[in-house]
Symmetry: D2
Subunit: 394 residues, 4 copies
Amino acid sequence: MKVWLIGAYGIVSTTAMVGAKALERGIVDKTGLVSELPPFKKISEYVPLKFEFGGHDIRPLPTAYDAIMEHWESNRHFDREILDAVGDELKKIKACKGTALNCGEGIRELGRVETLEDEGLTLREIVDRIEKDIKGFADDETVVINVASTEPLPKFSEKYHTTIEGFEEMLDNDVKEYATASMLYAYVALKLGLPYGNFTPSVGSSLPALKQLAEEKGVPHAGNDGKTGETLVKTTLAPMFAYRNLKILGWMSYNILGDYDGKVLSHRENKESKVISKDKVLEKIMGYSPYTITEIEYFPSLVDNKTAFDFIHFQGFLGTKMKFYFIWDGIDAIVAAPLILDIARFLLFAKKKGISGVVKEMAFFFKSPMETDVINTHEQFVMLKDWFEKLAEV
Amino acid sequence: MKVWLIGAYGIVSTTAMVGAKALERGIVDKTGLVSELPPFKKISEYVPLKFEFGGHDIRPLPTAYDAIMEHWESNRHFDREILDAVGDELKKIKACKGTALNCGEGIRELGRVETLEDEGLTLREIVDRIEKDIKGFADDETVVINVASTEPLPKFSEKYHTTIEGFEEMLDNDVKEYATASMLYAYVALKLGLPYGNFTPSVGSSLPALKQLAEEKGVPHAGNDGKTGETLVKTTLAPMFAYRNLKILGWMSYNILGDYDGKVLSHRENKESKVISKDKVLEKIMGYSPYTITEIEYFPSLVDNKTAFDFIHFQGFLGTKMKFYFIWDGIDAIVAAPLILDIARFLLFAKKKGISGVVKEMAFFFKSPMETDVINTHEQFVMLKDWFEKLAEV
Amino acid sequence: MKVWLIGAYGIVSTTAMVGAKALERGIVDKTGLVSELPPFKKISEYVPLKFEFGGHDIRPLPTAYDAIMEHWESNRHFDREILDAVGDELKKIKACKGTALNCGEGIRELGRVETLEDEGLTLREIVDRIEKDIKGFADDETVVINVASTEPLPKFSEKYHTTIEGFEEMLDNDVKEYATASMLYAYVALKLGLPYGNFTPSVGSSLPALKQLAEEKGVPHAGNDGKTGETLVKTTLAPMFAYRNLKILGWMSYNILGDYDGKVLSHRENKESKVISKDKVLEKIMGYSPYTITEIEYFPSLVDNKTAFDFIHFQGFLGTKMKFYFIWDGIDAIVAAPLILDIARFLLFAKKKGISGVVKEMAFFFKSPMETDVINTHEQFVMLKDWFEKLAEV
Amino acid sequence: MKVWLIGAYGIVSTTAMVGAKALERGIVDKTGLVSELPPFKKISEYVPLKFEFGGHDIRPLPTAYDAIMEHWESNRHFDREILDAVGDELKKIKACKGTALNCGEGIRELGRVETLEDEGLTLREIVDRIEKDIKGFADDETVVINVASTEPLPKFSEKYHTTIEGFEEMLDNDVKEYATASMLYAYVALKLGLPYGNFTPSVGSSLPALKQLAEEKGVPHAGNDGKTGETLVKTTLAPMFAYRNLKILGWMSYNILGDYDGKVLSHRENKESKVISKDKVLEKIMGYSPYTITEIEYFPSLVDNKTAFDFIHFQGFLGTKMKFYFIWDGIDAIVAAPLILDIARFLLFAKKKGISGVVKEMAFFFKSPMETDVINTHEQFVMLKDWFEKLAEV
Ligand SMILES: NC(=O)c1ccc[n+]([C@@H]2O[C@H](COP(=O)([O-])OP(=O)(O)OC[C@H]3O[C@@H](n4cnc5c(N)ncnc54)[C@H](O)[C@@H]3O)[C@@H](O)[C@H]2O)c1
Ligand SMILES: NC(=O)c1ccc[n+]([C@@H]2O[C@H](COP(=O)([O-])OP(=O)(O)OC[C@H]3O[C@@H](n4cnc5c(N)ncnc54)[C@H](O)[C@@H]3O)[C@@H](O)[C@H]2O)c1
Ligand SMILES: NC(=O)c1ccc[n+]([C@@H]2O[C@H](COP(=O)([O-])OP(=O)(O)OC[C@H]3O[C@@H](n4cnc5c(N)ncnc54)[C@H](O)[C@@H]3O)[C@@H](O)[C@H]2O)c1
Ligand SMILES: NC(=O)c1ccc[n+]([C@@H]2O[C@H](COP(=O)([O-])OP(=O)(O)OC[C@H]3O[C@@H](n4cnc5c(N)ncnc54)[C@H](O)[C@@H]3O)[C@@H](O)[C@H]2O)c1
Ligand code: NA
Ligand code: NA
């Protein structure tokens, strides 16, 4: 299959490319790939583990190879041998120039940036260019995934965001104030009938107008915000307290990371969507709102080695207080990259099975799954499995 | 309902008594009680939250009040006000003298001990005395629960342990070598038609002979080894690695505790059953055997404040190694005590619903659940809920 | 000796009172008291371990007993038996009404507050009242210690803050804008010839004008900000990295606490002085400024159980990065209270030995010691010991 | 200078070689080298930062390059570029065949081993061969350092171990039972007038007979057991509790590591000397013996990434218990390797300054420093500095 990556030069994107190519050559195993677990065995009949990549980015690098080399130099997040083996493949991947409309101050941290709006284009022209780029790459088995830097929360407009007509009007009248990059990319993908996955907390396809478009076009989509690291642990662990009727008095989540993602998120407005995405999960699992701290801070020397410190203060029988601490010392891109491949596969599988609209059964992959309150990782896994098995049988 | 506790003077037992009485008076809330969660609401129609206690112990204390006072003085594990409010109730509870047959060297740590075998009784006579004691207390709504100190693994005998006839022969011929205290208590409970729960890793009712007895008598039973602390976390968390196809390279579990339980377990032979019980869970969840370290060590100043240090080394995409650490800083008796009440209630509920033999659906409460490989805490909770709901409907 | 406590109803103050009285009765041992270590044995010849207390506060409680009862109910930070034994002594201690001039928004968290400025007094009148209160209590062996809630950084004035004449002018002209409570208390103490210790990061006696006053009056003083918890560990541990020529790439310090102190510090302006006080220590020890995160956040359920999470990322030979994590799970008032007694004793000892001005050799007790760059806990201890031994010999 | 390494193919040895050569080429900085700190600036006048290496080992590898390649492949403990740059230098270093007399079962873990005793040599012949090997390499500026696998505790003999005459008699009569490899190497070094450092807990030069020899020959020596990782932290941190009169109730130290060192130490007899070396430090710092747990366990996937989990339970004012946890996540060889260079330099410096016998002022580098009770890292650093400065002045 083919995958079009928004943010194609990011560490998650390029690590996914390296992984996909290394898998093809058989030099790495399938560790980390959910879609390769026994319950999903049949997926390879629909979507073999073979990928071609294209995408948009706003950093004007020659190819994905230059991007991965920069990420690798500062992270060394996998063995050099792997990179050497697949380097040539990445040299063939060149991102098209994208849009960074209303992507906030944080974007400045990325260094030199070139965008479509710099060329003075209107919204409609931007959208047309994106469409042209994607059309030049896509076939029937293509999925679009957003892995670009996190945008700020968009300014909401009843008029332009709730119906597809309103959205088109916004494009036609060039009302840039209410448009952000992620919604423009999502719009094009859905319009072209391409399944769309949103690995970021940016708004993407979660706008009512775009959900409507997806339904109308009969396209499956899923998001938001890839569930890796601390939130993955939190949504796995919190149910234990619920099952045992233990009361959470407070839950502190303190995340540090370096890297571009960390730099961009160090800007308040860009961080906002992330923190909201991380913070509301507990309430859904516990049925009440414990006191929480959820913070993400920049810590340059860690680069992509996201480290999370969690402290859970809980109360048991007879009112007695107890404590639980955990430290997650993970490599963000390593946890995230295989999920990009998984999401792409499951979305294409869904399309082939005639599914349209939000695939809420893919909640397992996201921090803020659309249109479902199933946040418990265990329940999400069961839901994914059941959904897959039922569809695969048909 | 009535609960007969083997090890009635232990910290888990006496804390359960305090809790039950404090609940009756409405001075504590229901935190920690699984059976009080919404899905189990109907249980109170069958088994109201009201308990009477009796039991066996081998420490010759005047009453359960003397026992809890000693535990409380060194642990202060709940507010003194609660103890003062229910103290009189505990003064009314006096344990009968029990047996400590083949309970190992660890028992010596308990201080002065008086047992039935000290009186020179034969196996049959011991069993008769236990039966007499329990009969004097039990009614139709009585459950027996083993919360005594952990025994060593018994010496296994094909002849005496696999059939009820063999077991009776062992008793009749006074073959003490193959009998341990926990099986004698379990034998009496089942023979009397009383549901039996085993909160310890001791053999209890898990002997084939006794399973047969339970079936014949139509009695439900469940065990083994209450799932609290680190194993609870492990069986909640390990599935996350499985769902995400992350490979566990090694899992270190290091537990420290003081208290009698810690002292008894500091003896190699007594510890053995505990470690086995804790150690085999990972294999069942992951489908392979990661390298593991599982240790329990004595740390006097912690008393009952069981602390567990876990380190999980895991491998993700592209072979990259990552790390996860957790610290469980819990009060063992506080986590365990409400489960005693829960187990008693679910067992009585099962009996009322005509269930007999091992209630494997109660796996949720145990480290080494009998006759099931469902070790994943989430699956266990779903299993318990489904079982309960189905039965409650009838 | 006598101790006048600014913030007499705080948890540190009242815990110090309980401890002093419990020591007198011999119901607790000397654990936690630095001045009772072998090298300081001779201090009891000058300042026996016997204390009388008075003080100012702004919360209108009947006596220190009411204050400690409130702190104890929410913290249970020592055995109830101790409180019962010394309760009567605390009922005899009643704080005088103090000033909260320019103490910031955070003060509102304290509940009902009554201050001298509420009575409409001028600066000079406030200072006179404070003087009258202290004079009514103090004798030749009295020390004043500031343990009141942390103030915001004061607005600096060249004119009023650098000379004692300027300071007096500020008082006379009632220029309230440049005065904060802590400097007014310190002014009175020094003017009366009473040694003054500042356990808080508030400005206290560190104003040039007041340092001049201390020199002129021949009074010893010391501060600022009691070194407890995380900073104590940091200044003990960081030298290890320095001695071994290991490079600190980043040091994260994340502190959570509940309680009044936590509430007051949750206000930005009040927190500012605290964070500065905590943050500059690393540079002084390492000789360069590593990347640091220093945060204090409110976490209500912990009450006074200050918990600190530190992560040190460091680089060794050949450029290799390594990691160190620590968790401090302390009870703030328990660590702080004995230091109040220690500081009082050492200050009175200094006075008796004719020392005046800043006693920089008492740096061991403070996060931001005045007039010294000795921040390394080890060096501070050696410095205190050498200073004491030399003076004690004379 | 020249350094003769016993255990030349070990990870510490070969990492030290790589580092020394990389320093010469200026491709790494001096991080990790104590002797390059400002207070020791003058050392380069006596011992420039330039090293030549030789040594003994019992693994029959072609050169040190083969050894480092194996270590590097499983550890990747520094950037590959460094290895590539200095590889040729390591190809020139070939270890002579050594002795593994009474080195215990653990040695088997090393794979194929060839020793002098395999050739059927007597003790005297072994010693002669070692002497011949060293003589062929050494000059006036050569130091011998033991970095071989840890031996079991030797069987002690009054007759053969306490005087140099007895020791010679043991050699002459070939009493192999009482000789271990480390003492034979140490004997030769001292006999040849070469300073000797013992980076392991093996007996080495700490035998009374060999101390006598060192005095007689006027040679400086130092040991035992390089202080890295957890013990370094412990001896830095424990003083804090002492200075503050906080009582340590218990200190748990749990170490896990993989690698050859971990494998060898997984054998009880080999581990014994290590645990003793680590365990007695607390008593010396605190003045009493707190309850301690000190364990080292094998954890293969960590390879040389030694991880230590420490828990300190302590008591403060009013008897209140508090907790401190730390995790050391270090790379053993990276912490150790520069110390090899430091020890070599300081020993040669000592020799040039006419020092003979145990250099107890080098305690800073060792877990079990000979002939001193100065265990506090800070005091050790001050002692080293003072000693150096005084000698350097002359
Ligand atoms: N890594 C994880 O575990 C994880 C988990 C959940 C969500 N995410 C999200 O995934 C996204 C990517 O993370 P990353 O670590 O790869 O970050 P990154 O900074 O390495 O990559 C982001 C890439 O997006 C590009 N980009 C930014 N704005 C763009 C735009 N408007 N159009 C096209 N390209 C644009 C950047 O140039 C960069 O190449 C972030 O939003 C992050 O929050 C990551
Ligand atoms: N506390 C937990 O979280 C937890 C979890 C799982 C299992 N368990 C198990 O529960 C049991 C009790 O734990 P505890 O913490 O209450 O221990 P405890 O030592 O406080 O209590 C054990 C009691 O059993 C009594 N006893 C010992 N042998 C006996 C015998 N043969 N017959 C009758 N009484 C006997 C002792 O005198 C003591 O009063 C232990 O086996 C423990 O391993 C406890
Ligand atoms: N507890 C520690 O370990 C520690 C360490 C270093 C510094 N400190 C500092 O010590 C101070 C006291 O801490 P605490 O935990 O006891 O806090 P607390 O809130 O319990 O006590 C502060 C007391 O000061 C009173 N107060 C506030 N403003 C006042 C004023 N202007 N005049 C007189 N009284 C006033 C309050 O009413 C309260 O009774 C804080 O500034 C804190 O930052 C504490
Ligand atoms: N790495 C650290 O931080 C550290 C700290 C303190 C002490 N030490 C000690 O240093 C020693 C070396 O550690 P390492 O990690 O390099 O181990 P390693 O296993 O990598 O190296 C040991 C080397 O010694 C060789 N050897 C074994 N017995 C020998 C003998 N009798 N004669 C000659 N060579 C022999 C082995 O073949 C191997 O090459 C160990 O004793 C270890 O306990 C290491
Ligand atoms: Na780590
Ligand atoms: Na804790």
